[in-house]
């Protein structure tokens, strides 16, 4: 033990020396790990195989946007290189892959890692290493709420709780005497939605007459739906991932039941709604919310943002331009590029994180062209939920149609 001190001191001195060498060679432009004179290295983990493999296209779409930016001169002359690794939606694989990206590939930042459990599993590590964990592809509320203790992690999409608060508002405004039945997935994702709905209903939580849960791996949700139907509910909320949701919608019709249906935005992708209709579900009038322009919606056919999206997504050979996941990927990549451009000559991890978490402002003339008109992406020193606006949409004649105006839930989640 007595000999530890000098050795540690020597090692510390060595590290300080190395650090000093590192910073003195920087020149006029401040940079960081993962930045060279012509490249910015970003890393990502996402499910490319396994049960959640349908999400894989998001990373490909993001890469398509980076390719588009690179071919138009890059970011102040630097091109983005995006390394995508497959964690199969398993947090135990996310950990070594993320360490590989940080310690071996030496990425500048992690971008758009997918899955709440997977991203929570590396949050402490990335915060400890001071590596930005930017715009994780999960709507769990913890990212915005716990920014104080994890200041290197940030989400992008509207939190699930904010979304279900909008449903609660819709119920209170338009269907005050609804009897609500909820079918939710038994994980953080489904539970977040239920919490938002309950909080949003406030003193009217008694409108919820039944709540039934299922596991994501379940093959049938018929017994839960039969129970909800038997409870006398006339309004059904389905909070699940696409597969079980499609099944649930078809089962409702098969049970001879025709409640007012609310579908959460993750599963309300037009492609999946059409599959549900093909398998017999009668879902005309179903309600959801949106914040991104739907590529299948004809009203955007001549929209500048949608034209840009189609031009960008052509860079990805395997991407289906009509898949809602792809425009999500392009939109979030737009915000990432926006931040890197703003960082300008001060391209350090700390500065990028500062801009992302407190100075983000995509609105008006600088609005994100892939989001619904009026939806802003912004953060301030006291608000770390970048997107908090959504609009109610209704499914009629095989397409989603925007209803009413944008609803702002900013500041409601504390």
């Amino acid at each position: 033990m007595t000999r530890t001190g000098p050795r540690m001191a020597a090692a510390a001195a060595f590290l300080v020396f190395i650090a000093a060498c590192g910073s003195s060679s920087g020149g006029t432009v401040a940079t960081d790990v993962g930045i060279t004179s012509d490249q910015i290295l970003l890393g990502n983990t996402i499910a490319q195989t396994g049960a959640a493999a349908s999400y894989a296209t998001i990373a490909n779409a993001e890469n398509a946007y980076f390719t588009y930016v690179n071919s138009n001169g890059g970011i102040n002359g630097r091109k983005i290189k995006f390394v995508i690794l497959d964690d199969a939606y398993n947090p135990a694989q996310t950990v070594p892959l993320t360490k590989q990206l940080v310690e071996q590939n030496q990425v500048f930042a992690m971008f758009s890692g997918l899955g709440t459990q997977a991203q929570v599993s590396v949050r402490d590590y990335l915060n400890g290493q001071r590596v930005p964990q930017l715009f994780v592809a999960t709507g769990a509320t913890t990212w915005g709420l716990d920014f104080g203790s994890h200041g290197w992690s940030l989400s992008w999409q509207p939190p699930y709780q904010g979304e279900s608060r909008i449903y609660a508002k819709d119920i209170l405004d338009n269907h005050k005497d609804a009897k609500i039945g909820v079918l939710y997935q038994n994980d953080d994702y489904g539970q977040d939605y239920v919490k938002g709905l309950t909080d949003g209903l406030g003193s009217s939580t008694s409108l919820i007459v039944d709540k039934e849960s299922y596991d994501a791996t379940a093959t049938s949700v018929a017994s839960q739906l039969a129970k909800i139907k038997a409870s006398g509910a006339d309004t059904l909320f389905v909070f699940g991932i696409p597969g079980p949701t499609i099944k649930a919608l078809a089962t409702v019709t098969a049970l001879g039941w025709a409640p007012r249906i609310y579908v959460n935005s993750v599963s309300a992708v037009a492609t999946y709604m059409k599959i549900a209709e093909k398998s017999g579900a009668k879902i005309d009038g179903a309600i959801s919310v949106g914040y991104i322009k739907d590529p299948t919606d004809p009203q955007w056919a001549n929209d500048a943002g949608m034209k840009l999206y189609r031009q960008v997504i052509a860079n990805c050979a395997n991407c289906d331009a009509n898949n809602g996941f792809n425009i999500y990927g392009v939109a979030v990549a737009y915000t990432m590029v926006d931040i890197l451009k703003q960082a300008g000559t001060n391209l350090t991890r700390a500065n990028v994180m500062k801009i992302a978490s407190s100075q983000l402002n995509e609105s008006g003339s600088t609005a994100n062209p892939f989001l619904l008109p009026g939806v802003t992406v912004s953060t301030t020193s006291s608000d770390h939920f970048p997107i908090m606006q959504e609009q109610v949409i209704q499914w009629t004649a095989e397409a989603w149609h925007l209803q009413g105006s944008i609803i702002n839930e900013r500041g409601t989640i504390k």
Binding site: M8, D86, A92, P96, G115
Partner: protein
């Protein structure tokens, strides 16, 4: 010195392997140490599976679930009761072993096919069961574990050997896994060479004959199951510590399949097999999803098939190839290759006795 000069050649090989693994973290980066720690962790659980499948002839599709029990035991003890993480490793092993033993009593009355189904059911139901007692397991949120820090004397010793920076938590985890793996491999080696091992192999090769020779069939089968679960529990505990996070999603059904495939590919009924199995189980998914993409000579169409189907395609292809060309796994392949080479060089048969060495599977 007499002992040294008379030691069988495989002892030297074992010593060489142990030295290589002991020195590995001084040669590779901290992150690569973590990767190799996971290789050793997989080798431990596959060793347990090997005792069950390779030596006693029963099939388990539920070892991922046993790993989950071990990992959650450690996570709960560390997180909730602030226990020293090192002390939780044997507790996790013993608890999982006990669970395996208790489950083994009814399950082993089943024929091998039904045992496979029963353990499969265990693997399917465990991730859902973990979610239920939320106060204990924190449900779907999972439990975060702080990275274990090496004791000061180990850290400074490591720094003076490598004359580099102090030991990181990943390197420390490697050494913990390494020591546990050495002990458990040594235990397994002793078991299979002695009375219990011979009894298990007798059961594997002919249950009726073994019973006729006075082997307590149900007793030994249950013992093998419990022992196997103990290995899985210890490995699970280390797996949780290495990931720094346990959650229901960390132990999908697929994990149990991967482990069984790893055991078969490494080589059943062999002590070296699980080490190959561990290397294979950890590196194959990473290789198939990362290596293929970087190779320019592979046509884009083939590469994109690999990217989309990834480990599954590679697993399938390799499994078929190995079943055809190396039915005794990688360990068997290497052994038979060595035997053939030697017989080429020296003529058929053992130098001293003139006997042809028997096939390892039939011993």
């Amino acid at each position: 010195m007499r002992f040294l000069s008379q030691a069988p050649r495989r002892y030297w090989l074992v010593a060489l392997v142990v030295i290589v693994f002991a020195g590995l973290p001084t040669q590779v980066t901290s992150f690569q140490s973590l990767e190799w720690a996971e290789v050793l962790i997989f080798a431990i659980v596959i060793m347990g599976l090997n005792l069950l499948v390779g030596y006693s002839g029963q099939i388990s599709l539920g070892h991922g679930a046993f790993m989950a029990v071990g990992a959650y035991t450690t996570a709960i003890l560390v997180h909730r009761y602030h226990m020293d993480y090192l002390a939780t490793i044997p507790i996790a092993g013993l608890l999982t072993g006990l669970l395996g033993f208790v489950l083994g009593i009814p399950a082993l009355r089943l024929s091998p096919l039904y045992l496979a189904l029963a353990t499969f059911a265990l693997a399917v139901v465990t991730p859902s069961l973990i979610k239920r007692p939320e106060n204990l397991t924190q449900g779907v949120q999972g439990i975060l574990l702080p990275p274990p820090q090496p004791p000061d004397w180990v850290s400074s010793m490591f720094a003076s050997v490598t004359s580099g920076p102090a030991m990181t938590s990943d390197q420390w985890l490697y050494y913990v896994s390494f020591i546990v793996a050495v002990i458990l491999f040594w235990v397994a080696w002793n078991i299979v060479r002695r009375r219990p091992g011979r009894a298990l192999m007798a059961i594997r090769d002919g249950e009726v004959a073994a019973a006729a020779s006075g082997v307590n069939i149900a007793g030994y089968k249950t013992l093998a199951f419990g022992l196997s679960a103990f290995y899985a529990g210890v490995a699970g505990s280390l797996y949780g510590l290495a990931s720094g996070y346990v959650s229901p999603d960390s132990f999908p059904v697929a994990l149990s399949f991967t482990l069984l495939v790893g055991a078969v590919i490494g080589g059943l009924g062999s002590i070296a097999g699980p080490l190959f199995g561990g290397i294979f189980t950890f590196w194959l998914p990473i290789m198939s999803s990362q290596f293929v993409q970087t190779q320019d000579w592979i046509p884009d169409q083939v590469a994109s098939v690999f990217k989309n189907a990834g480990p599954a395609v590679t697993y399938g292809a390799l499994l078929i190839l190995i079943m055809i060309f190396a039915p005794n796994g990688l360990a068997g392949l290497i052994l038979s290759g060595y035997t053939r080479l030697r017989s080429r060089l020296r003529g058929v048969g053992e130098r001293t006795t003139g006997q042809v060495p028997p096939d390892p599977q039939t011993v």
